[in-house]
Amino acid sequence: MTIIDKFFKKKSSGDYAKGRLQMMLVTDRANCSPEVMEAIKRDIMDVLAKYVEIDTEKLDIQINQTDSDTHNGSVPVLLANIPIKSMKGR
């Protein structure tokens, strides 16, 4: 691969495979299907919606890996980034 190729070529297929695998294994290891993930998202939003107004566009909930002393050095962790538009008045 020449330098010009490196700059202009899209991601190599090997990198693409690695990225896909890393995403795939996160859900595999968490034993969590996309449907379950959607259901979790929906329920969290329902609870929060009682108290605050959520920016549903920028909502981001995912299950990731984090370092741990057990389980091959990593365990799943739920990360939620939920922007709040405004607090609901009491």
Partner: protein, 263 residues
């Protein structure tokens, strides 16, 4: 003390049987007393890879059902006097054996004085897999640098952990350095990073493997790159530290040819 090693992968066709044949033969060439057990009931293969298909009288299921003694079913290898094969049954299915029976078989083989007992596991995660891992002390997980094989390997590693297997190592098979260099194949390092497990061997994709399998003669220890890679795995299993091969190494004449091509 004998060590019981299961060779497994999840996905089929990644090289479990070839790995079992070569690692087993390699350990025998290093003066260990070795027995290979084909646990793939119904899809017998290890015997053909070893070139011993014409010598089978009794099989694994015969031993377990008590139709013969263990010694009667063990086939002595053609080349290595301290290498034996316990073939699988071709006309039965995986439910003919259960994990408890496999454990007992392995215990009985231990008392025969084998240094290493290698179990060639069938593909999949069902009964056959459970049988194969039941009596094992350690596991070698074989994968290739492909998404499907790696995903299955991850699942297998998880299942091994759940079954309290403490000693699990990875073998990355069929690496093509030309593709890795182009960025079109994941490298050994990529696979190790994704699976987060210690690696014990990296085997190149080598035409000689096909030739050796055609002839029913494992190539471990010969001067091919794959032959050297398998022998290195054997040394590492025995606890020796061996540096990883440079899989990009080409013969002198290929290098010479390339030199002329460039100019």
């Amino acid at each position: 003390m004998s060590e019981v090693i299961v060779i497994t992968s999840g996905k089929g066709g990644v090289g479990k049987t070839t790995t079992t044949a070569n690692v087993g033969t390699g350990l025998a060439k290093l003066d260990k007393k070795v027995v290979l057990i084909d646990t793939d009931i119904g899809l017998r293969n290890l015997d053909v890879v070893m070139g011993l298909e014409n010598r089978i009288v009794y099989n694994l299921v015969d031993v377990i059902e008590g139709n013969c003694r263990i010694k009667q079913a063990l086939i002595k290898d053609k080349r290595c006097p301290n290498l034996y094969l316990l073939p699988s049954a071709q006309t039965r299915d995986k439910t003919s054996v259960n994990p408890e029976q496999m454990k007992k078989l392995v215990t009985d083989l231990k008392s025969e004085g084998f240094d290493y007992i290698l179990l060639d596991c069938p593909a999949g995660i069902e009964q056959g897999f459970k049988n194969a891992i039941a009596g094992a002390d350690r596991a070698l997980v074989v994968t290739t640098p492909e998404v499907s094989a790696i995903r299955d390997a991850d699942r297998i590693i998880g299942l091994l952990e759940a079954n309290e297997m403490k000693n699990t190592h990875l073998i990355v098979n069929r690496i093509r350095m030309d593709m890795v260099k182009r960025g079109d194949m994941m490298s050994m390092e990529d696979v190790v990073e994704i699976l987060a497990i210690d690696i014990i061997g990296a085997v190149p994709d080598d035409e000689n493997i096909v030739v050796a399998t055609n002839q029913g003669e494992p190539l471990v220890g010969n001067d091919s790159l794959a032959g050297q890679a398998y022998l290195n795995i054997c040394h590492r299993i025995m606890g020796e530290e061996v540096p990883f091969l440079d899989l990009d190494k080409k013969g002198f004449f290929t290098k010479l040819g390339n030199l002329f091509k460039k100019n």
